[in-house]
Symmetry: C2
Subunit: 185 residues, 2 copies
């Protein structure tokens, strides 16, 4: 029932009812601004808006929040909230918190840069690098074929150089990622 949720997360606030859902505290200016900041931020990382909204609200909430309240305050569907929380958990950007006397799962934002960056690198960047690395193997063969069968020696050399270059890029990227983690750590 809603009132129990409220007793947790509205602790010490005057409940002002402005049209919206019964007993739902609308987002205040600070919350709105933080959420917008994160929505923009995650867009840059190719992460959906709703995920940014959820993380943003958790980030600026002094108390952990349950799915219910994310749905009510952000006005997103239960489905979005559930999926969004899943990806945030998966990224290590959110942490489940036990709240006594309430069987819902509460969440709080992981607000340290290091684990956030590590999660993003591990979940989003490294898998891409891995598939890229596999492609490179095939690419070397194809370039070799082309270089052998092609009539033009120069062109063959060009293909070899290009593929080699891609290999260098991949190695650079693999060196760079741990460097970034260290810098942010």
């Amino acid at each position: 029932m809603a009132s129990r949720a409220l007793s947790t997360s509205l602790r010490g606030r005057t409940r002002v009812d402005v049209g919206g859902e019964e007993g739902v505290v609308p987002l205040n200016a600070l919350e709105l601004e933080v959420i917008e900041l994160f929505v923009n931020g995650v867009k840059l990382l190719g992460i959906p808006k709703s995920v940014g909204e959820i993380y943003g609200l958790l980030f600026i909430s002094p108390e952990p929040l349950p799915l219910d309240e994310l749905v009510a305050r952000l006005k997103i569907s239960k489905g979005s909230a559930s999926q969004g929380l899943r990806s945030l958990r998966h990224l290590g950007a959110v942490r489940a918190v036990y709240v006594a006397g309430d069987r819902r799962d509460f969440y709080e934002a992981v607000a340290e840069l290091k684990p956030l960056a590590s999660g993003f690198i591990k979940e989003q960047l490294e898998p891409h690098l891995d598939t890229g690395g596999q492609r490179l193997v095939r690419l070397r063969e194809l370039a070799e074929d082309e270089a052998m069968q092609g009539s033009d020696r120069e062109v063959g050399e060009f293909y070899r150089d290009r593929v080699e270059r891609l290999g260098k890029w991949e190695r650079k990227a693999r060196q760079l990622l741990p460097l970034i983690r260290k810098f942010l750590g």
Copy 2:
């Protein structure tokens, strides 16, 4: 007329006609693989597929190519090719090349990691950091308001800490970007 374009870019190749447009050389296995690699790559950076296709084909082409041929070989519209080349120029990922006796603009890929990374950082990342920085100013005010007017001292401190933390993230990011450029240089 198409034959002139071909005389430039099909130099020394046997023209095999397989159904498609008259006189258009279909993408070979190497080209397809490289293009696919770049399409995946740019997706990660939030850049549209067609831009990845264009860059990929230019990257693996020993000769610079004109818009015409990108359209024909990639089977994309003139509009996409034009816009795609524009963003690639803007990113510094492509370079216009003069070809004697042909009034079309020819392009070749910029294939050095450093300028590519610099372009991406300057065009895509830094603008975001700047708008983020502006938001932070406003955010500090809002957090201060909230901290003052709010009844709870702890909560006020929490808000201050959160906003301060965002400031720290921004500074870290601003330090990190030049570091990345140096590493790739």
